[in-house]
Subunit: 334 residues, 2 copies
C-alpha cells in the first residue's frame, strides 16, 4: 500500500514500493496493461499506422485549462491526428522527482485518464523512474501513440499545393500565454485559459466533410508561424497569411502586447491548421465550426507558388516575412 | 547550422536552432522520419503487435559497456522481445539539460543508431525538450517500441506452469555493478562491464528451437529476484531457484560482497529469463548457448505449484524466500 505522502527514490527501484505505486496510482486510474503485469502490451492492428512521441516538461505542472497529464495526452493524440489517424493506443513514461506529492501525481494521472477517454483511447503500457531531488522538476512525462489511418487518407506537410486554402481551427496563443502567466505570477483582467484539447474527433469530422484536406498540422511549440514555416519548407511553397484573419482572443492580444510577445509564435495545444483544395474550403470550414473545438475556425490564408516561406499580409496591407524565430521565446510551455 | 558547443534553451523552442539540432544531431544519425518532417511517422503493420515504453535516467550517462543511448534502445527492444516480438519501429524522446555538451549528445545518438541497427530496427520518430540548468541531469531518454508477434506465439508472465524449467541466458549483476562502480568512482581488480545488449535475435533463435517457451522476462531493475517474483505472482506459482546454478561473474560477486549488495537484485540489461516445458529445456538451453549473447546460459530452477513466491535453495541446501525488496538498493541504474 502506498502510505507515503511524497515520492521516494524507492518508488522507482523495481521493488515492493514501486509495485504498490504502479497498482494504486497508475493501474487503478488508467486500467491494467494488456496482458496485465507484462513488460509490453499487445494489440491487434492492420493497415497503415501512425506512430508519434513527445516529451512534456511544462512548468508549472498545473495551469488554467489543464495540467501536464492532460497536455501529454492531447499532444500525442493531436500529432496522430495530423496524419488523419484515429488513436488506438498510448504509452506513458514518467520521470518523477523525489519529493513530488503523490496527491499531485494522482491528480495528473486522473487527468490523463479523463483526456484519453475523451479521445477514445487508453494508456495501455507505461514506465516510471524516480530521480533524486533537484535532478528533475516535479514530473516529466513522455507519451507515445499509435493510430490507425483509414484507407485512402494520405496527409503530410509535404502535400501543400498552390491554390489551396489555409484554415485554422480557432484562436492562437491561449496555451502559451496561460502557462507563461501562471508561471510568472502575472494577472490580467481576464484569466487566460489554455486551449489544451484532444482533436481526434474534430479531425475525423473535418476529413469526412472535406476529403480534399491535404495537410494537417497542430501549431504547438513555436506557434502558428513555425508550423506554417515547416509546411512551406516541406512542400516548397509560399504560404500567405492574412494577419487580420487570424483569430486572437483579446486577453491574449493584451498580454502579448504587454510582454512584447507575438501571438503568432505562441504555443497552442488544441488547434489545427488545415490546407484544403479551394473547392472544399467552405465545406471544411463548416465542418470545423460545427465541432465544439472548432467554433472559431477561420480561413487565414492561401498557398502560392514561390520560395519556401511564409508571408504575412499586415493590417496595413504591406507584406513581411514570417520567419522561424531564433532564440527562445517561451521555454517549457509543453 | 549547430555552431554551439552546449545545449541552449533555444534548442528546444520550436525555432531555427531546434530545427538545426534535429537535422544535424538526430536525423543525420538516425535517418529521417517517414514521411520526413511530419509530426508522426507512418508504417504498415498487420496482426498482433507488442507496444512498450521505458524512461532512462541512468547516472552516469556513459559507463563501461554502454551509455544511456545504447541502454534506451536495448531496454525497449528487450521488453518487446519478452513477447517474442521482432521490433519494427522505435521512437525516442529526449529531455536535455541546458548546458549539455552537444558532443556528448552526438555520442549518445551515435550509440542509439548503432544499437538499433544491431537489433534490426530504426528510430523513426522523436521529440526533444530542453529544461533549464539544474532541472534535469544532462539527459533523459524515453524510448517506445512496436514489435510484430508471429502467429502462434503467445508469451506472458502469467503462463508459468508447475513442472517448467527456469533458464537464464547468462550471468547476473554486471549492468548494475558497472553503473554503480563508475558513479561512485570505485575501482575493482577487474573492470565490471555492463551486459547491455539487444536480445531480439537471441530470442528468435530460442523460440525457433523451443516453441515450448511460455514465459520470457528480462531481469532489469530489481534484478533476477524481482523479475521472478513478478512471474510467480502473475502465474500464481512457486519458483524455486538453485543459488549455485545462477551464474555470477567473479568481479560482480566480489564487488557485491564489498558493497553489501545481493547480485540477485542487481540490474541486468542483456539477460533473459525463459520458462520452458521440461521436454524442450535442453533444446532451449542449447539454442541460448549457441547465440553470442547466451554463451553462459544456465538452468537455474523450476516451477512448482504452491503460493506465489520465489524460493532460493542455498549452497547449504536450505531454503529461503527471495522476496521483493523494500527500500532502494540501487537508484538510477537505468
Amino acid at each position: 500500500m502506498v502510505s507515503e505522502e511524497r515520492i521516494l527514490l524507492s518508488h522507482g527501484d523495481g521493488g515492493q514500493r514501486m509495485a504498490d505505486l504502479i497498482a494504486e496510482v497508475f493501474v487503478s486510474r488508467l486500467g491494467p496493461s494488456d496482458p496485465p503485469g507484462d513488460d509490453a502490451a499487445q494489440l491487434e492492428a492492420a493497415g497503415r499506422l501512425a506512430f508519434t512521441t513527445d516529451a512534456f516538461v511544462v512548468d508549472p505542472i498545473f495551469f488554467p485549462g489543464g495540467d501536464i497529464g492532460k497536455l501529454a495526452v492531447c499532444g500525442t493524440v493531436n500529432d496522430l491526428a495530423t496524419t488523419g489517424a484515429v488513436p488506438i493506443a498510448l504509452s506513458a513514461s514518467f520521470v518523477l522527482e523525489e519529493g513530488l506529492l503523490i496527491s499531485d501525481l494522482e491528480r495528473i494521472v486522473d487527468s490523463m485518464a479523463a483526456t484519453a477517454a475523451e479521445a477514445g483511447v487508453r494508456v495501455i503500457t507505461g514506465d516510471t523512474k524516480v530521480v533524486p531531488r533537484g535532478k528533475a522538476d516535479k514530473v516529466y512525462v513522455s507519451t507515445t501513440g499509435i493510430g490507425r489511418i483509414a484507407e485512402g487518407v494520405a496527409l503530410s506537410g509535404a502535400n501543400a499545393r498552390p491554390g489551396e486554402v489555409v484554415l485554422l481551427s480557432g484562436a492562437v496563443g491561449d496555451h502559451g500565454l496561460a502557462v507563461l502567466s501562471r508561471r510568472e505570477g502575472l494577472e490580467f483582467a481576464s484569466e487566460i485559459v489554455s486551449d489544451c484539447a484532444p482533436l481526434a474527433g474534430m479531425v475525423q469530422a473535418l476529413l469526412a466533410a472535406a476529403p480534399g484536406v491535404h495537410v494537417l498540422r497542430d501549431p504547438t511549440r513555436g506557434g502558428l508561424a513555425s508550423a506554417l514555416n515547416e509546411i512551406a519548407r516541406q512542400s516548397e511553397v509560399t504560404i500567405e497569411v492574412d494577419e487580420t484573419a487570424v483569430p486572437v482572443h483579446a486577453g491574449v492580444a493584451a498580454a502579448c502586447e504587454l510582454l512584447g510577445l507575438d501571438p503568432l509564435y505562441a504555443a497552442n495545444e488544441g488547434k489545427m491548421i488545415a490546407l484544403v483544395s479551394p473547392e472544399q474550403a467552405e465545406a471544411a470550414l463548416v465542418a470545423l465550426r460545427g465541432h465544439p473545438l472548432g467554433l472559431e475556425a477561420a480561413m487565414i490564408g492561401k498557398v502560392e507558388s514561390g520560395a519556401s516561406r511564409v508571408l504575412l499580409r499586415t493590417a496595413l496591407g504591406s507584406h513581411r516575412i514570417l520567419d522561424r524565430h531564433v532564440g527562445e521565446q517561451m521555454p517549457r510551455i509543453c
